[in-house]
Protein backbone atom coordinates (compact mmCIF):
# COMPACT_ATOMS: atom_id res chain seq x y z
CA UNK A 1 0.00 0.00 0.00
CA UNK A 2 2.76 2.46 0.96
CA UNK A 3 4.59 1.55 -2.27
CA UNK A 4 1.51 2.50 -4.27
CA UNK A 5 1.23 5.79 -2.38
CA UNK A 6 4.92 6.50 -2.97
CA UNK A 7 4.54 5.81 -6.69
CA UNK A 8 1.50 8.06 -6.81
CA UNK A 9 3.35 10.88 -5.03
CA UNK A 10 6.29 10.46 -7.39
CA UNK A 11 3.94 10.57 -10.39
CA UNK A 12 2.30 13.80 -9.18
CA UNK A 13 5.72 15.23 -8.28
CA UNK A 14 6.96 14.64 -11.82
CA UNK A 15 3.81 16.17 -13.26
CA UNK A 16 4.19 19.30 -11.13
CA UNK A 17 7.37 20.07 -13.05
CA UNK A 18 5.70 19.80 -16.45
CA UNK A 19 4.81 22.88 -18.51
CA UNK A 20 1.18 23.78 -19.22
CA UNK A 21 1.47 22.45 -22.78
CA UNK A 22 2.90 19.12 -21.56
CA UNK A 23 0.10 18.84 -19.00
CA UNK A 24 -2.50 19.54 -21.68
CA UNK A 25 -1.03 16.71 -23.77
CA UNK A 26 -1.37 14.42 -20.74
CA UNK A 27 -5.01 15.46 -20.31
CA UNK A 28 -5.63 14.72 -23.97
CA UNK A 29 -4.20 11.25 -23.36
CA UNK A 30 -6.80 10.82 -20.60
CA UNK A 31 -4.76 11.74 -17.51
CA UNK A 32 -7.16 13.69 -15.28
CA UNK A 33 -4.56 14.26 -12.56
CA UNK A 34 -2.76 16.52 -15.06
CA UNK A 35 -5.95 18.57 -15.33
CA UNK A 36 -6.04 18.93 -11.54
CA UNK A 37 -2.52 20.35 -11.64
CA UNK A 38 -3.49 22.83 -14.37
CA UNK A 39 -6.45 23.86 -12.25
CA UNK A 40 -4.46 24.34 -9.05
CA UNK A 41 -1.86 26.33 -10.99
CA UNK A 42 -4.31 28.80 -12.53
CA UNK A 43 -7.30 28.98 -10.21
CA UNK A 44 -6.02 31.87 -8.01
CA UNK A 45 -5.84 34.23 -11.02
CA UNK A 46 -9.17 33.03 -12.38
CA UNK A 47 -10.84 33.48 -8.97
CA UNK A 48 -9.49 37.01 -8.54
CA UNK A 49 -10.65 38.12 -11.99
CA UNK A 50 -14.17 36.68 -11.64
CA UNK A 51 -14.53 38.12 -8.15
CA UNK A 52 -13.50 41.53 -9.49
CA UNK A 53 -16.05 41.27 -12.27
CA UNK A 54 -18.96 39.96 -10.18
CA UNK A 55 -18.19 40.96 -6.59
CA UNK A 56 -20.07 37.94 -5.28
CA UNK A 57 -18.37 34.85 -3.83
CA UNK A 58 -21.16 32.39 -4.68
CA UNK A 59 -21.43 33.49 -8.29
CA UNK A 60 -17.62 33.50 -8.52
CA UNK A 61 -17.54 29.86 -7.44
CA UNK A 62 -20.16 28.86 -10.04
CA UNK A 63 -18.57 30.80 -12.88
CA UNK A 64 -15.12 29.51 -11.86
CA UNK A 65 -16.33 25.92 -12.18
CA UNK A 66 -17.83 26.69 -15.56
CA UNK A 67 -14.48 28.16 -16.71
CA UNK A 68 -12.58 24.95 -16.03
CA UNK A 69 -15.36 22.70 -17.33
CA UNK A 70 -15.54 24.79 -20.52
CA UNK A 71 -11.77 24.58 -20.86
CA UNK A 72 -11.86 20.80 -20.46
CA UNK A 73 -14.57 20.48 -23.11
CA UNK A 74 -12.61 22.58 -25.60
CA UNK A 75 -9.09 21.56 -24.62
CA UNK A 76 -8.37 20.36 -28.18
CA UNK A 77 -8.96 23.91 -29.44
CA UNK A 78 -6.13 25.31 -27.32
CA UNK A 79 -3.21 25.62 -29.71
CA UNK A 80 -0.80 27.39 -27.39
CA UNK A 81 -0.82 30.66 -29.37
CA UNK A 82 -1.19 32.53 -26.09
CA UNK A 83 -0.30 31.67 -22.51
CA UNK A 84 -2.74 29.27 -20.86
CA UNK A 85 -3.40 31.83 -18.10
CA UNK A 86 -4.36 34.43 -20.73
CA UNK A 87 -6.66 31.90 -22.39
CA UNK A 88 -8.35 30.93 -19.11
CA UNK A 89 -8.80 34.55 -18.04
CA UNK A 90 -10.36 35.29 -21.43
CA UNK A 91 -12.89 32.49 -20.78
CA UNK A 92 -13.42 33.82 -17.22
CA UNK A 93 -14.12 37.35 -18.51
CA UNK A 94 -16.56 36.10 -21.15
CA UNK A 95 -18.47 33.90 -18.73
CA UNK A 96 -18.56 36.71 -16.16
CA UNK A 97 -20.09 39.00 -18.79
CA UNK A 98 -22.71 36.31 -19.54
CA UNK A 99 -23.50 36.23 -15.82
CA UNK A 100 -23.71 40.05 -15.69
CA UNK A 101 -26.13 40.04 -18.63
CA UNK A 102 -28.27 37.38 -16.92
CA UNK A 103 -28.34 39.54 -13.79
CA UNK A 104 -29.27 42.64 -15.80
CA UNK A 105 -32.31 40.80 -17.11
CA UNK A 106 -33.28 39.90 -13.54
CA UNK A 107 -32.72 43.25 -11.84
CA UNK A 108 -30.99 46.56 -12.33
CA UNK A 109 -28.64 48.17 -9.79
CA UNK A 110 -28.56 51.97 -9.97
CA UNK A 111 -25.82 54.26 -8.72
CA UNK A 112 -28.14 55.38 -5.91
CA UNK A 113 -28.30 51.80 -4.62
CA UNK A 114 -24.61 52.06 -3.76
CA UNK A 115 -25.36 54.23 -0.79
CA UNK A 116 -28.82 53.06 0.19
CA UNK A 117 -29.25 49.32 -0.39
CA UNK A 118 -27.67 48.19 2.89
CA UNK A 119 -29.68 50.58 5.00
CA UNK A 120 -33.43 50.86 5.16
CA UNK A 121 -33.07 54.37 6.55
CA UNK A 122 -31.08 56.59 4.19
CA UNK A 123 -30.29 58.98 7.07
CA UNK A 124 -28.86 56.21 9.22
CA UNK A 125 -25.56 57.73 10.39
CA UNK A 126 -23.98 54.33 11.00
CA UNK A 127 -24.33 53.50 7.34
CA UNK A 128 -23.61 56.93 5.90
CA UNK A 129 -20.94 56.98 3.20
CA UNK A 130 -18.28 58.52 5.44
CA UNK A 131 -18.47 55.50 7.73
CA UNK A 132 -18.17 53.04 4.89
CA UNK A 133 -14.96 51.63 3.69
CA UNK A 134 -13.87 53.15 0.37
CA UNK A 135 -13.00 49.65 -0.78
CA UNK A 136 -16.49 48.33 -0.22
CA UNK A 137 -18.12 51.22 -2.06
CA UNK A 138 -15.54 51.02 -4.81
CA UNK A 139 -16.24 47.29 -5.33
CA UNK A 140 -19.91 48.06 -5.71
CA UNK A 141 -19.22 51.04 -7.96
CA UNK A 142 -17.23 48.76 -10.28
CA UNK A 143 -20.28 46.48 -10.51
CA UNK A 144 -22.32 49.35 -11.95
CA UNK A 145 -19.88 50.04 -14.79
CA UNK A 146 -20.69 48.97 -18.30
CA UNK A 147 -18.93 45.65 -19.00
CA UNK A 148 -16.53 47.12 -21.58
CA UNK A 149 -15.12 49.48 -18.92
CA UNK A 150 -15.48 46.96 -16.13
CA UNK A 151 -13.22 44.37 -17.73
CA UNK A 152 -10.30 46.80 -18.24
CA UNK A 153 -10.70 48.25 -14.74
CA UNK A 154 -10.82 44.78 -13.17
CA UNK A 155 -7.79 43.49 -15.07
CA UNK A 156 -5.61 46.61 -14.81
CA UNK A 157 -6.60 48.27 -11.53
CA UNK A 158 -7.97 45.41 -9.44
CA UNK A 159 -5.76 42.53 -10.58
CA UNK A 160 -2.70 44.55 -11.53
CA UNK A 161 -2.15 43.27 -15.07
CA UNK A 162 -0.07 45.62 -17.21
CA UNK A 163 -1.85 47.55 -19.95
CA UNK A 164 -0.11 45.31 -22.50
CA UNK A 165 -1.33 42.13 -20.77
CA UNK A 166 -4.83 43.60 -20.47
CA UNK A 167 -4.83 44.36 -24.19
CA UNK A 168 -3.68 40.81 -24.96
CA UNK A 169 -6.27 39.15 -22.72
CA UNK A 170 -9.11 41.23 -24.13
CA UNK A 171 -7.72 41.13 -27.66
CA UNK A 172 -7.94 44.92 -27.91
CA UNK A 173 -5.49 47.53 -29.24
CA UNK A 174 -3.42 49.19 -26.51
CA UNK A 175 -4.93 52.60 -27.34
CA UNK A 176 -8.45 51.26 -26.75
CA UNK A 177 -7.41 49.84 -23.39
CA UNK A 178 -5.92 53.19 -22.36
CA UNK A 179 -8.98 55.18 -23.41
CA UNK A 180 -11.37 52.73 -21.71
CA UNK A 181 -9.24 52.87 -18.57
CA UNK A 182 -9.42 56.67 -18.54
CA UNK A 183 -13.19 56.68 -19.12
CA UNK A 184 -13.76 53.93 -16.57
CA UNK A 185 -11.80 55.84 -13.94
CA UNK A 186 -13.68 59.06 -14.70
CA UNK A 187 -16.97 57.20 -14.30
CA UNK A 188 -15.80 55.71 -11.01
CA UNK A 189 -14.83 59.17 -9.75
CA UNK A 190 -18.28 60.49 -10.69
CA UNK A 191 -19.99 57.60 -8.92
CA UNK A 192 -17.79 58.08 -5.84
CA UNK A 193 -18.29 61.86 -5.67
CA UNK A 194 -20.78 61.60 -2.75
CA UNK A 195 -18.21 59.53 -0.87
CA UNK A 196 -15.41 62.05 -1.45
CA UNK A 197 -17.66 65.02 -0.57
CA UNK A 198 -18.70 63.33 2.63
CA UNK A 199 -15.10 62.48 3.52
CA UNK A 200 -14.07 66.11 2.97
CA UNK A 201 -16.93 67.37 5.16
CA UNK A 202 -16.00 64.82 7.77
CA UNK A 203 -12.33 65.94 7.76
CA UNK A 204 -13.28 69.64 7.91
CA UNK A 205 -15.32 69.08 11.06
CA UNK A 206 -12.38 67.48 12.88
Amino acid sequence: MSKILDLNRKHVGVQLELSDIQLIEKVQEGDLSAFEIIMSRHKPKVAAVIMGMLGDADATEDVGQEVFIRFFRTIDKFKGDSELSTYLIRIAINLSINEINKRKRRHFVSFDDLYTSDSSDPHDRENSPDNRDLREILDRAIQTLDSKYRKVIVLRLVNGYSTKETAEILDLPLGTVLSRLARGQKKLQEILKPFYNNEATHLNTL
Binding site: P44, Q65, I153, G160
Partner: protein, 125 residues
Protein backbone atom coordinates in the same frame (compact mmCIF):
# COMPACT_ATOMS: atom_id res chain seq x y z
CA UNK B 1 -3.39 63.01 -16.70
CA UNK B 2 -5.09 59.59 -16.77
CA UNK B 3 -2.70 58.35 -19.43
CA UNK B 4 0.28 59.31 -17.24
CA UNK B 5 -0.80 56.59 -14.78
CA UNK B 6 -0.80 53.78 -17.33
CA UNK B 7 1.56 54.75 -20.11
CA UNK B 8 4.84 56.57 -20.51
CA UNK B 9 4.39 60.19 -21.55
CA UNK B 10 6.78 62.01 -23.83
CA UNK B 11 9.10 64.51 -22.17
CA UNK B 12 7.02 67.38 -23.47
CA UNK B 13 3.76 65.82 -22.24
CA UNK B 14 5.28 65.24 -18.80
CA UNK B 15 6.38 68.86 -18.53
CA UNK B 16 2.95 70.12 -19.63
CA UNK B 17 1.24 67.90 -17.06
CA UNK B 18 3.64 68.95 -14.31
CA UNK B 19 3.00 72.62 -15.08
CA UNK B 20 -0.77 72.10 -15.16
CA UNK B 21 -0.69 70.32 -11.80
CA UNK B 22 1.30 73.14 -10.22
CA UNK B 23 -1.06 75.77 -11.58
CA UNK B 24 -4.33 73.99 -10.75
CA UNK B 25 -4.98 72.71 -7.21
CA UNK B 26 -8.24 71.25 -8.56
CA UNK B 27 -6.36 69.11 -11.06
CA UNK B 28 -3.91 68.08 -8.34
CA UNK B 29 -6.77 67.02 -6.02
CA UNK B 30 -8.32 65.07 -8.89
CA UNK B 31 -5.03 63.26 -9.38
CA UNK B 32 -4.81 62.55 -5.63
CA UNK B 33 -8.36 61.20 -5.73
CA UNK B 34 -7.67 58.88 -8.63
CA UNK B 35 -4.40 57.69 -7.06
CA UNK B 36 -6.26 56.81 -3.84
CA UNK B 37 -8.97 55.10 -5.86
CA UNK B 38 -6.42 52.99 -7.73
CA UNK B 39 -4.73 52.05 -4.48
CA UNK B 40 -8.05 51.02 -2.93
CA UNK B 41 -9.02 49.02 -6.02
CA UNK B 42 -6.06 46.62 -5.73
CA UNK B 43 -7.29 43.10 -5.10
CA UNK B 44 -6.33 41.23 -1.94
CA UNK B 45 -6.93 38.08 -3.98
CA UNK B 46 -9.85 35.72 -3.73
CA UNK B 47 -9.86 32.00 -3.23
CA UNK B 48 -12.39 29.43 -4.31
CA UNK B 49 -13.87 27.22 -1.61
CA UNK B 50 -11.78 24.22 -0.47
CA UNK B 51 -14.12 21.84 -2.32
CA UNK B 52 -13.84 23.70 -5.63
CA UNK B 53 -11.43 21.21 -7.25
CA UNK B 54 -13.53 18.25 -6.16
CA UNK B 55 -16.69 19.81 -7.64
CA UNK B 56 -15.00 20.53 -10.97
CA UNK B 57 -13.47 17.05 -11.19
CA UNK B 58 -16.83 15.48 -10.34
CA UNK B 59 -18.50 17.48 -13.12
CA UNK B 60 -15.75 16.48 -15.55
CA UNK B 61 -16.04 12.81 -14.70
CA UNK B 62 -19.80 13.04 -15.18
CA UNK B 63 -19.20 14.74 -18.48
CA UNK B 64 -16.92 11.92 -19.56
CA UNK B 65 -19.45 9.29 -18.54
CA UNK B 66 -22.35 10.97 -20.32
CA UNK B 67 -20.26 11.85 -23.35
CA UNK B 68 -19.20 15.39 -24.07
CA UNK B 69 -21.44 15.55 -27.14
CA UNK B 70 -24.56 15.09 -25.03
CA UNK B 71 -23.73 18.38 -23.36
CA UNK B 72 -25.04 20.89 -25.95
CA UNK B 73 -28.56 19.62 -25.22
CA UNK B 74 -28.11 21.01 -21.70
CA UNK B 75 -27.72 24.52 -23.12
CA UNK B 76 -31.05 24.25 -24.95
CA UNK B 77 -32.85 22.38 -22.20
CA UNK B 78 -34.95 25.36 -21.17
CA UNK B 79 -36.01 26.08 -24.75
CA UNK B 80 -36.92 22.41 -25.26
CA UNK B 81 -38.99 22.24 -22.09
CA UNK B 82 -40.81 25.50 -22.91
CA UNK B 83 -41.47 24.21 -26.45
CA UNK B 84 -42.95 20.93 -25.22
CA UNK B 85 -45.06 22.79 -22.62
CA UNK B 86 -46.46 25.11 -25.33
CA UNK B 87 -47.36 22.15 -27.57
CA UNK B 88 -49.01 20.34 -24.63
CA UNK B 89 -51.01 23.48 -23.77
CA UNK B 90 -52.21 23.78 -27.40
CA UNK B 91 -53.33 20.14 -27.41
CA UNK B 92 -55.22 20.58 -24.12
CA UNK B 93 -56.97 23.73 -25.44
CA UNK B 94 -57.92 21.92 -28.69
CA UNK B 95 -59.27 19.01 -26.66
CA UNK B 96 -61.33 21.27 -24.36
CA UNK B 97 -62.85 23.41 -27.14
CA UNK B 98 -63.29 20.77 -29.87
CA UNK B 99 -63.48 17.55 -27.89
CA UNK B 100 -60.94 15.84 -30.14
CA UNK B 101 -57.27 15.90 -31.05
CA UNK B 102 -57.68 15.58 -34.80
CA UNK B 103 -55.62 17.76 -37.18
CA UNK B 104 -58.81 19.68 -38.02
CA UNK B 105 -59.51 20.57 -34.40
CA UNK B 106 -55.89 21.52 -33.73
CA UNK B 107 -55.60 23.75 -36.80
CA UNK B 108 -59.12 25.14 -36.33
CA UNK B 109 -60.19 24.18 -39.87
CA UNK B 110 -63.31 22.06 -40.40
CA UNK B 111 -61.69 19.90 -43.02
CA UNK B 112 -58.50 20.12 -44.95
CA UNK B 113 -58.22 19.50 -48.63
CA UNK B 114 -56.27 21.37 -51.22
CA UNK B 115 -59.37 23.09 -52.65
CA UNK B 116 -60.75 24.70 -49.51
CA UNK B 117 -57.25 25.40 -48.17
CA UNK B 118 -56.60 27.56 -51.28
CA UNK B 119 -59.97 29.23 -50.79
CA UNK B 120 -59.26 29.80 -47.11
CA UNK B 121 -55.88 31.39 -47.79
CA UNK B 122 -57.21 33.47 -50.69
CA UNK B 123 -60.42 34.84 -49.17
CA UNK B 124 -60.67 34.30 -45.47
CA UNK B 125 -57.12 34.83 -44.19
Amino acid sequence: MYRSLDARLTEEESKTLERALQESPQLQSRLDEITALREAAKSDGHEFSPWFDAKVMHAIKELQQNGIKAFPFQAYRTATIVGFAAIAAMLVIALIFNGSLSINSITGLDSINSENLTAFLAFDF
